[in-house]
């Protein structure tokens, strides 16, 4: 043998785990489509594992795989499967993953034959989605320009001019002055925030809740400030 070596090592990867009581194609299609519409970029080609723990049905894994592909998702395997489900999943080319501690009771043996190389020895399934990406803009955003960070935070090194618009599904950080519009949590996440070094905005919005310039022209005008959603209103606070 030459020095072309081969190695199989266990690694940990963040995967999104789908919990759904009804795994019929039509029902899942409409539920997933609605879910994805909230944050299309966020789940784009995301690796997904189906959790079958509380589900004794016999899903059509081949059709499910097809559906996930159409929705721009990657179905990599199942977890919490019973013996029958396990065989069916393996026949459809899916990995059978051993769940983490949370569901150790029902865990099954990982199957080396059918699992993709990266998942040969999965030891843990992380339920959290992947961390948010960020889009970085090095210059000023000028009047008339619009920037959208899809499924991501938006970081702007310069200023956002009057008549410019910056939009993010995540948080927005502006290291210069904000004189235009800033729209964070654009896909509906009200936990997102807007930070800027000099607040002179025409409009700020978080998950569709907005303030116009006149609501901002108080003590924080022209100062470093943070906008967030709290309870049922926007709140502005100083950056220290």
């Amino acid at each position: 043998m030459s020095e072309h070596s081969l190695e199989l090592k266990g690694s940990l990867f963040p995967l999104s785990v789908l919990h759904c009581s009804d795994l019929s194609i039509s029902s899942l299609q409409s539920l997933l489509t609605a879910k994805l519409a909230q944050a299309p970029a966020f789940f784009y080609q995301a690796p997904i594992v189906i959790n079958l723990q509380d589900n004794d049905s016999r899903p059509d894994f081949v059709a499910l795989k097809q559906l996930f592909t159409e929705l721009k998702l990657v179905l990599v395997g199942v977890t919490g499967a019973n013996a029958e489900q396990k065989t069916a999943a393996q026949q459809a080319g899916l990995a059978v993953l051993q769940a983490g501690k949370a569901s150790a009771a029902k865990a099954t043996e990982p199957s080396a034959q059918t699992a993709p190389a990266a998942a040969v020895k999965p030891t843990q399934v992380v339920v959290q989605p992947q961390p948010m990406d960020s889009k970085i803009v090095e210059q000023n955003v000028r009047s008339g320009q619009q920037i959208y960070a899809k499924g991501a935070d938006l970081i702007i090194k310069g200023a956002v001019g009057a008549g410019a618009e910056v939009i993010a599904d995540g948080n927005i950080h502006i290291y210069g002055s904000l004189r235009g519009k800033a729209i964070a949590g654009a896909s509906g996440d009200s936990s997102k925030r807007i930070y800027c070094y000099n607040m002179q905005a025409e409009l700020v919005s978080i998950a569709g809740n907005y303030w116009l310039s006149h609501s901002l022209q108080g003590e924080f005008w022209g100062k470093p400030a943070c906008i967030r959603w709290q309870g049922e209103s926007l709140v502005i606070s100083e950056l220290v």
């Binding site: 000028r142 009047s143 009057a162 002055s177």
Partner: protein, 269 residues
């Protein structure tokens, strides 16, 4: 290879043509072979300010259409060596300029000149886009008032996204801020933005501040670029601007209200 400088603003009437004429003339005075190209098709102002309106035979559109060559069309200035004007057409509309045509003419000029100054029309439509598309540097002409600053910000956005340099991923256009019609008295009264205000908003390097001046009106009425009026405040401010464009460091003048001397006050000077 010439350096192509667009003189642009978004807003009309801020002093683009006045500045194109002054800067082009100043560069030629400094020994650089310079051509000023009028992109304001249909309005044709540059030749009036340069005082060569009676010598226009062919124009930019004729050259683009192959109806005349550059040699026949370029007007050589009678006062300053190394200075030429490529006039705009008065009878065509702005759509007469095509990207390919403009590129061909600029390439041909580029082989022969040190500087090509493009006097842009107002607005953000095709004429203005054509004037800035091929630029290496931009002089963004701004008056110290909110609407002009806003339009300049808009044009700066275009320069960084809609130019050839942006599209080809080259180094960006070098941007210079030229503040014109500056009136320190009105700034003091809070009726106009200050140099610092405008610099802070637009965040680009300042290349010159031209005071509001009767000398500009006198100059354009007599078909003389104001930079040739070396006694005048505006003429001197443009001379400083040209030096800065050529890389010199020159202190800024005419930024503060001039105290009128006793004699001047007596005679209302």
């Amino acid at each position: 290879m010439a350096k192509i400088i667009v003189v642009t603003s978004g807003k009309g009437g801020v002093g683009k043509t006045t500045s194109s004429a002054a800067i082009g003339t100043g560069l030629a005075l400094a020994g650089k072979k310079t051509v000023i190209v009028d992109f304001d098709i249909g309005l044709r102002n540059l030749d009036l300010i340069m005082g060569c309106e009676r010598r226009v035979v062919y124009d930019f559109v004729n050259v683009i259409n192959g109806e005349a060559n550059l040699k026949q069309t370029l007007i050589k200035d009678k006062r300053v060596e190394n200075l030429f004007i490529l006039p705009a057409s008065q009878t065509r509309d702005k759509d007469a300029l095509t990207k390919e045509g403009v590129e061909r003419v600029l390439n041909e000029l580029s082989a022969d000149f040190d500087f090509i100054i493009c006097d842009s029309p107002a607005g953000i439509e095709s004429g203005a886009m054509m004037a800035l598309y091929f630029a290496d540097e931009a002089v963004v002409v701004t008056n110290p008032e909110v609407s002009s600053v806003r339009d300049s910000d808009r044009i700066l956005g275009m320069l960084s996204s809609k130019s050839r340099r942006a599209e080809q991923g080259l180094d960006g256009i070098k941007e210079h801020l030229l503040l014109t019609r500056y009136n320190p008295e009105r700034v003091l009264k809070g009726e106009m933005l200050s140099v610092e205000d405008v610099k802070e908003i637009l965040a680009i390097e300042l290349v010159g501040v031209i005071p509001e001046s009767q000398a500009v009106l006198n100059a354009s009425n007599s078909g003389q670029p104001v930079i040739l009026d070396e006694e005048s405040d505006a003429g001197q401010a443009y001379l400083d601007t040209v030096k800065r464009l050529l890389g010199e460091t020159v202190p800024f003048r005419f930024l503060t209200v001039e105290r009128k001397g006793f004699i001047k006050r007596l005679f209302g000077g």
